[in-house]
């Protein structure tokens, strides 16, 4: 299959791209990796008349450390983060998450920011970025703005983007203390969208208490959701079998799963609990080495 016909434009600068969006608005779609958009266009459930390919815009490439955060440019591919040895120490959740997305071929093209802008409820990056408390950098005719990830997902397939705006980067705060990250996902087959997924991010202060906690819930609601109750509970506590147990029970409380062919809502909630427990236990072992688990 192939898409309906469209006009293709590959601007070289961000300003040009935004100008094109201003001209075409609703009829235009931005493509970066194209691994979500092109399949929909091939099935003809999506049929934009203008395709704006941002792959030639140099300023969107790569990542860099800026003060207080890691700035991941819009053309960063899943595979880039999967293989980025230099990020593994401080941002372990990035590689942990990347490897779960689709398959190696898709990961070579698909982008992190494209996945966020697509706002699929089953977005693994959506969950991971929630756990990391990221900000989405958006550029439009009025310049750039930052959108906290919690405000970014408005609804299914609906990000907090105007028709004239482009996601230019995602900003991941630099963690303090020792960091652990896990992405746990159950799929019907390798590379599938999650039945349920959970991103877990924890950093420990020097006294061993939790300085940062992040839980991002995937495929259990109309949008990726934050496990807020568990986060609040864990802050300032040490990771012990008891606190891990308690936090893991709180995670499903923030999920809004639905019954579907992948499983019942109740099932997905319980899997989130199990994932939270496993993720936290693993991180505890990694960072503390001696948590006794029941």
């Amino acid at each position: 299959m192939f898409p309906n016909s469209f006009e293709y434009i590959a601007p070289k600068t961000l300003m040009e791209a935004i100008e094109l969006l201003k001209q075409h608005g609703y009829d235009a779609k931005v493509v970066a990796g194209g691994q979500s958009l092109l399949p929909m266009m091939k099935l003809r459930v999506a049929a934009p008349s203008i395709l704006i390919d941002i792959n030639n815009i140099d300023e969107l490439k790569g990542w860099r450390n800026e003060s207080g955060y890691l700035r991941i440019g819009a053309l960063t591919r899943h595979a880039d983060l999967e293989h980025s040895e230099e990020l593994r120490e401080q941002y372990p959740l990035l590689a942990e998450t990347a490897v779960w997305i689709a398959d190696p071929l898709v990961r070579n093209l698909g982008t992190v920011c494209g996945s966020l802008a697509h706002a699929d409820p089953g977005s693994d990056w959506g969950a991971a970025m929630l756990a990391l408390h990221a900000q989405v950098e958006v550029a439009g005719p009025e310049g750039k703005r930052q959108v906290p990830i919690d405000d970014f997902f408005v609804d299914t397939f609906t990000p907090a983007l105007e028709e004239t705006e482009i996601v230019t980067a995602v900003l991941v705060p630099t963690p303090v203390g020792r960091v652990g990250g896990r992405y746990l996902k159950i799929e019907r087959k390798a590379g599938d969208f999650a039945i349920a997924g959970l991103a877990v991010h924890v950093s420990l202060a020097s006294d061993g208490t939790v300085a940062e906690a992040g839980f991002g819930i995937c495929a259990c609601g109309p949008i990726p959701l934050r496990g807020k109750r568990a986060e609040e509970y864990l802050l300032g506590k040490k990771l012990t079998p008891e606190t891990i147990e308690a936090a893991s029970r709180l995670v499903p409380e923030d999920a809004e799963p639905a019954d579907d062919l992948r499983g019942s809502a109740e099932y997905k909630r319980d899997v989130l609990r199990v994932f939270a427990k496993r993720g936290l236990s693993d991180i505890a072992k990694e960072l503390q080495g001696e948590v006794v688990l029941r």
């Binding site: 299959m1 398959d103 087959k189 390798a190 599938d192 992948r262 499983g263 019942s264 319980d270």
Partner: protein, 783 residues
């Protein structure tokens, strides 16, 4: 393993495949690779509704669209008497819908244009007004008296298609009345689809100046397709040439004739140009022949020690909108009555009722000899239920009930005569090799710790190789198969067969058989299949029938040549024919040591130096009508661990011990087994085609109809025993489907075994993680 095989006596050796050099270079030639001058493209408009009356079809805008040459609707076909075509199951099927549509994605109109893009674009301009009708997706509801009648074309005003039964009702019921133990289970074999990697498609190329139609088509049975096409279209059969080029997998999907094929032929006849139609994956899954969809109720009557007495099976078969099963004519439920399996039942009664629903038509044999998969799954599943009820280890229960080696040929209570087998030996090897005793110990320890580990056994019997022709025909055409062998003067051989491989390695294995029989090497023999203008008539490749039928034909055809060769050899050796001895590689004269001639010598003489009066040349044709089917069997063992937290099942080990009689190429046999196990695994754990109440297909593509990747698939272990078929010319039985037939029960038995401490007796496939979790939850098990 040797890639080039110049060795003599190649039978049973790992010969590198002769077909591979083109495939590894990307030089295979599949239907969609063929581009003909002036070729047009066809695209089909399909119904979004599962059941709706067609009020109007407006094709005017499409006809005006750029590049469009023709639009065909059901009404156009009606005028040509081609709106309906016969199915292989004595039913008829719409080509393009007239009056109403009966399933979602049903073909309604065809658009033919200069390019693929134009055809698809124009198809979107066809305006069809539908009036939705009540939808029936549940076969049980379809049988209720007030259910809407789906098939208005039939005289019978009911959704019931057929009733079929085998076995002795009275005798079976008598045994049930007095049996100390009776177990009963409802078992569903869900709707699945063969989904080969290459979808279906064709190019119809009608040449008006010669009147000849060349039809390139993804076909597992090119000769049968030619005959059907001739009967349906009225074209003279000798003016139809069917070419089935390289086929990217079939698994039963490429046996039927589909509406798209017929529409493309009509388009080419009308336009006098080649017309290509290649379906998409979505079209493949949603509209071409599905498999299974059996709702079975199984009862076993047994003694208290688990020795079986009688079997009773009732089945509702959901055929969708048309009964387009590809079964032999006399077997509306295929070979399902083989359901007594490897066990010595005294009596059995098997009943099947076919039902119409608003789903895609079919009931094809997916990597399976006509419903033998449903049968093997059912008996192997319910034997485990019996084992549990009588408190006997499942391996032991099987041993107690096996048909013994000395009972062969064994007459089954539903009328089959099993050719040969040694079930105890095969199971013994499997148990030893997997370390059954150790595994049971490990399981006991794990159970004590609250962990869930399971061991599942399946000791299935297959039935493959249809004919014999007195019992088996498709649309009246007898199910024999054929080979034609021609030896050129330099001793090189071209052989053509009536079957058509789709990855099974015929170009190699049949070369091995022929080379073995003729004292040549595999490299000396070129195998050609798939061109009806060249190959002798045959019924095609499915139901594991190629080796039992065409393999037999190849061997006997070669022997026919050898008989003539012997006469020529006598002439060359200057002795009487009765003094000529064949030792497998050459002819020699009795009592004259050192004097011998090879087949190459004979071949040269056949064209240069013949005995007086002998017809020149060295070739033969053989139509082989097998005296019986062959009955491969196997013992499969799966070991699984269950994740208590998520319900996910991990297949830790899987061992398949197969017995397919004489092995032609062990490497290829192993490859076939690996592939079939993977399909069985997918069926057990991933695959289903569900429909919602509106009849929407909820697994219409490979995002939701799940095919396992290398990461999902377990590492397969294989071994084998060899019990030759007594009636097959080389003792071979066929193996391609055994792993798909035998493995689903092993997987499910393993999962049920793991959950047995909770009292679980059965879980329907596919075993999704949430189903397992649900069971664990109901029994208070949690992580």
């Amino acid at each position: 393993m040797a890639l080039h095989q110049t060795e003599l006596r190649p039978l049973g050796k790992c010969v590198g495949r002769k077909e591979d050099p083109r495939f590894i270079r990307g030089k295979g030639r599949y239907v969609d690779d063929i581009m003909l001058p002036g070729m047009l493209y066809m695209y089909l408009v399909r119904s979004p509704y599962a059941h709706a009356r067609i009020k109007s079809i407006d094709t005017s805008a499409a006809l005006q669209a750029p590049g469009v040459k023709l639009v065909i609707t059901g009404e156009d076909l009606e005028a040509m008497n081609l709106a309906w075509i016969p199915t292989m199951a004595n039913d008829q099927q719409m080509v393009l819908a007239t009056g109403k549509v009966l399933y979602q994605y049903q073909e309604v109109a065809a658009v033919i244009a200069e390019t693929r893009e134009q055809a698809v674009d124009a198809a979107q301009l066809i305006d069809i007004e539908y009036e939705p009708l009540p939808v029936v997706v549940d076969p049980f509801k379809a049988l209720e008296p007030d259910a809407p009648i789906l098939r208005e074309d039939r005289e019978k005003k009911s959704n019931h298609v057929f009733h079929w039964e085998a076995g002795d009702r009275e005798a079976t019921e008598e045994l049930f009345r007095n049996a100390p133990v009776v177990v009963k289970k409802d078992v569903r074999f869900q709707r699945v689809h063969p989904a080969p990697l290459e979808p279906c498609g064709c190019i119809a190329d009608y040449n008006p100046s010669t009147g000849k139609l060349t039809w390139y088509v993804t076909s597992q049975a090119p000769h049968a397709h030619r005959t059907v096409l001739a009967m349906v279209s009225g074209l003279p059969e000798h003016q139809i040439r069917v070419i089935s080029p390289d086929v990217g997998g079939g698994f039963g999907n490429k046996v039927p004739i589909y509406p798209g094929y017929v529409a493309a032929v009509v388009a080419s006849l009308k336009l006098g140009k080649p017309v290509k139609w290649i379906e998409t994956r979505t079209e493949n899954i949603t509209s071409t022949g599905f498999a299974r969809d059996y709702h079975m109720t199984c009862e076993i009557a047994a003694e208290e020690d688990g020795r079986v007495l009688a079997l009773r099976v009732k089945t509702i078969a959901d055929h969708g909108a048309f009964d387009a099963a590809a079964d032999p004519s006399k077997f509306p439920a295929g070979l399902f009555s083989i359901v007594t399996g490897s066990y010595d039942f005294k009596e059995a009664l098997v009943e099947v009722d076919g039902v119409y629903t608003n789903k895609a038509p079919g009931g094809v044999a997916y990597r399976c000899s006509f419903r033998v998969t449903e049968a093997a799954y059912l008996i192997e599943r319910v034997m485990d239920v019996l084992a549990r009820r009588v408190g006997v280890d499942p391996a032991e229960l099987r041993k107690r009930n096996f048909i013994r080696k000395e009972q062969f040929p064994y007459k089954s209570p539903t009328g089959w005569t099993y050719d040969s087998g040694d079930y105890e030996k095969t199971l013994a090897l499997a148990l030893e090799k997997i370390g059954y005793e150790e595994l049971r110990k490990e399981q006991a320890e794990k159970r004590a710790r609250g962990e869930f580990m399971g061991i599942g056994i399946s000791t299935f019997t297959e039935v493959v190789g249809a004919g014999p022709s007195h019992t088996f025909d498709i649309m009246g055409i007898k199910m024999f198969d054929s080979a034609q062998i021609r030896i050129h003067p330099t001793g090189k051989v071209i052989a053509r067969l009536g079957v058509r491989h789709q990855g099974q390695g015929h170009e190699t294995t049949f070369a091995q058989i022929i080379a073995e029989e003729l004292g040549l090497s595999t490299d000396d023999v070129l195998i050609e299949e798939g061109d009806t203008d060249n190959a002798p008539y045959g019924l095609g490749t499915y139901a594991s029938r190629s080796t039992p039928t065409a393999g037999g034909a190849a061997a006997l055809c070669a022997r026919r040549i050898r008989d003539k060769a012997k006469k020529i050899a006598a002439h060359l050796l200057e002795v009487g024919e009765e003094d000529v001895v064949w030792d497998g590689v050459s002819f020699s004269a009795k009592g004259l040591p050192g004097k011998s001639v090879t087949m190459k010598d004979v071949a040269f003489a056949a064209y240069t130096n013949l005995p007086e009066g002998m017809e020149p040349g060295l070739e033969a044709t053989y139509y082989y009508d097998p005296p019986n089917l062959t009955f491969p069997h196997g013992a499969y063992i799966a070991v699984v661990d269950i994740d208590k937290g998520t319900g996910a099942v991990k297949v830790r080990r899987f061992l398949a011990v197969d017995d397919c009689g004489t092995v032609i190429n062990p490497m290829i046999v192993d490859g076939q087994v690996h592939g079939g196990l993977t399909e069985g695994f997918a069926i057990a754990f991933m695959q289903d085609i569900p429909f919602d109440d509106e009849g929407n297909c909820l697994a219409p593509n490979w995002m939701d109809y799940l095919v396992p990747t290398a990461l999902d698939t377990p590492h397969w272990e294989t071994d084998r025993t060899v019990t030759p078929s007594p009636h097959h010319p080389i003792g071979a039985k066929g193996v391609g489907e055994s792993p798909n037939v035998g493995s689903p029960a092993a997987f499910v038995n393993a999962v049920v075994d793991a959950l047995a401490p909770l009292g679980v007796e059965h879980i329907d496939m596919p075993i999704f993680p949430w189903k397992v979790w649900q069971i664990l939850r109901e029994h208070g098990v949690t992580e």
